[in-house]
């Protein structure tokens, strides 16, 4: 197979649906929030009752413009809404309001890193549309031939981001998707939760001989509701198409549904997708006109994007690439870091602490940084105690544990527990001498030239001082004393 993979290349384009975090729906007043009792977030308009009319929610346009600007698109000053007609029980009007000719954004691109290399993928278009409801084929509620419909999601605003077929590998698709997700999260317009469906990705895939210019017959992959699902499904489909061609077959144009449990994709029945959608301009909505002032307003309110922020962290805080990448994974995490670093004498120490202790704690407790109980200022205080020699890093971890447990501030805990670091040379020398007299064998080894025993002996001194001794001074005293013994 690896030889065949060198013979063929895949041509992949992604269609990413992003649910927008607006208060109300795209064309009506009911709540656009996720969840709730089935059919509780409804109004006559999103239900498509006789006589209702849609009215565009301006906030959705702001959000679409933000995505467009963040992906270097041209913002369409005049765009129109269209009806996409098809029958389905979770589509109450019998058509979805979307954009077809003249979408709100076009001709952009996204730059991102894959395996240390920069990659650019073109953005064909970004358009606004309404989500459909959900059909629930749940046998716990109904007979096997019946279906329930939940229309809460009807009218939830979406932007659909359509890429050019510039992607060649599943890993590139994943990197593109991860970058896009990070961008929409930074823009504050989507939580990026693929499991809940607030971010959804479909892929168009074809293969051709390496270096070919013509496009092969493509298939469309749907139902990949996780990042790993996208990677596995695309790899599966590339493999399937290669095998098909190699065995003398041909790829048929079809839509495939990814089954993550089984690790396979099955073809949808043709009647499930072979629609003529009969797009035409929605006569209930006037063309969307975006003025210079409106565009400027959105432009000037655009937050710093992840890549720009990463570069700034490197320049401003002298962080390594790796740290900057980890800390800019989400906007709240980057905010947390900057708040900590701003109150702390040592930015690198702040980075280390957040990437190590804080992220470990979040992971163990399955929470996000927004739910983390210790404010950045208190982490900075803790690190400043390390910085000025009041405590050492080992004690700092103990203090951190106590902070999480009690909610008290670091200085209070250090005082209460008497954890102040011992830097008094005389006191430390006494401890060192006791340890040396207790470990004559190790002293002999040192005298014989085995320097490695120093580490062991430092550990013994630290243990004897309950970790409170200043490790730097312990090290110095120990070497002096050992040298003295060796010389004697």
């Amino acid at each position: 197979m690896s030889i065949l993979k060198e013979k063929y290349e895949a041509v992949i384009g992604l269609e990413v649906h992003v649910q927008l975090l607006t208060n109300s729906k795209i064309f009506s007043s009911s709540s656009a929030a996720f969840g709730g009792a089935p059919n509780s977030k409804v109004d006559p308009v999103c239900l498509g009752l006789p006589g209702v009319l849609p009215v565009l929610n301006r906030q959705t346009v702001n959000f679409a413009m933000r995505v467009g600007l963040a992906t270097n698109c041209k913002i369409g000053r005049h765009s129109i809404f269209a009806r996409k007609n098809y029958f389905y029980p979770d589509l109450p009007k019998g058509y979805q309001i979307s954009q077809f000719e003249e979408p709100v954004c076009e001709h952009g691109y996204l730059d991102f890193e894959v395996n240390g290399q920069m990659k650019r993928v073109g953005i064909t278009r970004i358009h606004l549309e309404e989500d459909a409801g959900k059909s629930i084929h749940a046998e716990e509620f109904v007979g096997s031939d019946e279906t329930l419909v939940d229309v809460n999601r009807c009218g939830v605003p979406l932007v659909e981001i359509v890429s050019e077929p510039d992607i060649r590998l599943a890993s590139e698709a994943v990197a593109y998707l991860v970058e896009l997700r990070r961008i929409v999260q930074y823009l504050g317009l989507c939580d990026g939760n693929m499991e809940e469906g607030s971010l959804r990705c479909d892929a168009n895939i074809s293969i051709r001989p390496v270096g070919g210019t013509e496009l092969g017959v493509k298939t469309e992959l749907k139902n990949m509701n996780s990042i790993s699902g996208v990677e596995n499904a695309i790899n599966y489909e590339i493999h399937r198409q290669i095998e098909l061609l190699e065995s003398g077959g041909a790829v048929t144009q079809q839509t495939l549904l990814w089954n993550a449990d089984k690790g396979i994709a099955r073809a949808m029945r043709s009647k499930e997708y072979s629609h003529d959608y009969r797009y035409f301009p929605d006569p209930d909505l006037v063309p969307l006109e975006i003025s210079d002032a409106w565009l400027q307003e959105v432009k000037s309110a655009l937050p710093e994007l992840p890549r720009a922020r990463k570069n700034r962290l490197i320049a401003e805080y002298k962080l390594p690439q790796y740290d900057a990448e980890v800390l800019t994974a989400t906007r709240p995490l980057a905010d947390y870091f900057e708040a900590t670093a701003g109150a702390c004498a040592d930015a690198k120490a702040a980075s280390n602490w957040i990437m190590g202790e804080v992220l470990r704690y979040l992971k163990e407790n399955e929470i996000t940084i927004e739910a983390f109980s210790v404010p950045p200022g208190e982490i900075a205080e803790l690190l400043n105690l390390v910085g000025d020699g009041t405590i050492n890093l080992k004690v700092a971890r103990i203090v951190f544990g106590a902070m999480l447990e009690t909610g008290k501030r670091a200085a209070v805990i250090v005082k209460e527990k008497g954890l102040v670091q011992v830097s008094d040379t005389a006191q430390i020398t006494a401890q060192v001498r006791m340890v040396l007299s207790d470990h004559p064998a190790e002293v002999e080894k040192y005298v014989a030239g085995k320097e490695q025993v120093v580490g062991f002996l430092v550990g013994q001194v630290m243990r004897a001082t309950r970790g409170q001794a200043n490790p730097k001074i312990v090290n110095e005293v120990l070497r002096t004393e050992l040298q003295a013994l060796a010389d004697s």
Binding site: P44, L47, G48, L49, P50, G51, V52, L53, P54, V55, L56, R83, N85, F87, P89, P92, K93, G94, Y95, T147, V149, K271, D276, R278, Y279, F280, P283, D284, L285, V286
Partner: protein
Amino acid sequence: MRGEWSCVDLTETYLSNIDKGAHLNAFVFSMADRARARAAEIDGRIKTGDAGKLAGLTLAVKDNIVIKGERAGCASAILDGYVSPYSATVIEKLEAEDAIIIGRTNMDEFAMGSSNENSCHGPVKNPNDPTSVTGGSSGGSCAAVSAGMALAALGSDTGGSIRQPASFCGVVGLKPTYGRVSRYGLVAFASSFDQIGPITQNVADAALLLEVMCGLDLKDSTSSPESVPDFTNSVGRDIQGLRIGLPSEYFGEGLNNEVRQAIDNTIDILKQRGAAIVEVSLPHTDYAIAAYYVLTTAEASSNLSRYDGARYGFRAADVSDLDEMYINSRNQGFGEEVKRRIMLGTYVLSAGYYDAYYRKAQQVRTLIKRDFAAAFERCDCLLTPTAPTTAFKIGEKIDDPLTMYLSDIYTVSINLAGLPAISVPCGSDENGLPVGAQIVGNYFDEEMLIRLGHQVHCQAGEKSA
């Protein structure tokens, strides 16, 4: 007058007229209890001086304008039993001024028709001759006003559905500029054409209702922020120096001689009153019917997709799967004309046909708008017959859709352009059936329709007197 009558008495009179006129089939149902309760409330407000400007006006409402808590059926079996949980904006506005809604009027199914024979409740009969049609699609509303079963009625006009039946029934019917009156709560037939308008016994009543109905509605994106004048001020204004355009295309082949005679007489009188007559041309008129049927059916095919048996209204029994439910529900629930138009509209929007039909028809629409713009550079308004004939016999054209479609030949262009127009009784044929004159105004110039319409109606009154 005040103190000598009460809204309750008036309402009773109209309710008894509805009963007496039951054979006309103008009403789907009367709303007697609701009307009586409202009348009593309004009588109370009249005593305290708090009554609205339409206090005591009994109003019949076409079956496609929704009223909270009431059935809205569009004269279609597919909406069987459907009750609206909200009221149309016009209903809220009219009730806020104390209009009394007295019943729901019959119509062509989903407003598709020119004779009011396409109704699941059967045809409406013309009060002037019960063997003749009322015209359509607002036939029930026009018959109700004509027969004194309501003081006024609401209709909707997509290609002539207010004006043509108003002409056939001998009442006043006004279609406002597209965007003048909110469409929120009007069950859509063709969204870029539909307008709600008043049907009344005289032009002054139309002006009064229009004042209340018009204005920006944030629930309708196509509603206009244009300010609403006091239309009643235009009633009785003279027409000295007014330039009235006569489009030659509206006086050609197919125009019945008696209708032509009535219009000619009207023109003569208007000249005597100081109006100047200007010959104008609307050269793309020949393409109007075709463009109209392409565009309205396209929009309708999409608008009517929601009636699928899944959520409300009629659902076919004994279906084995989803597709069969859709097919059988829609096949059994919709009438023949509606199905014909859904099929036509689906066809013109289909892949490979869109450019040849839908896009081409949109281009024709633009040309027709330009025709009117050019004409309005030479005149203040247009005068035409509303329909090429007077009311025809029930059953006469029902099996010949193309002939039926031609009865809207003078009205559809106005909807393609989005202009306001009024039909006013101006005479009658030798059988005593009414003839209507259509006045077309420039955008948002309903004042012109009221001003000239009132004069035309007066001359008709003088002649018949």
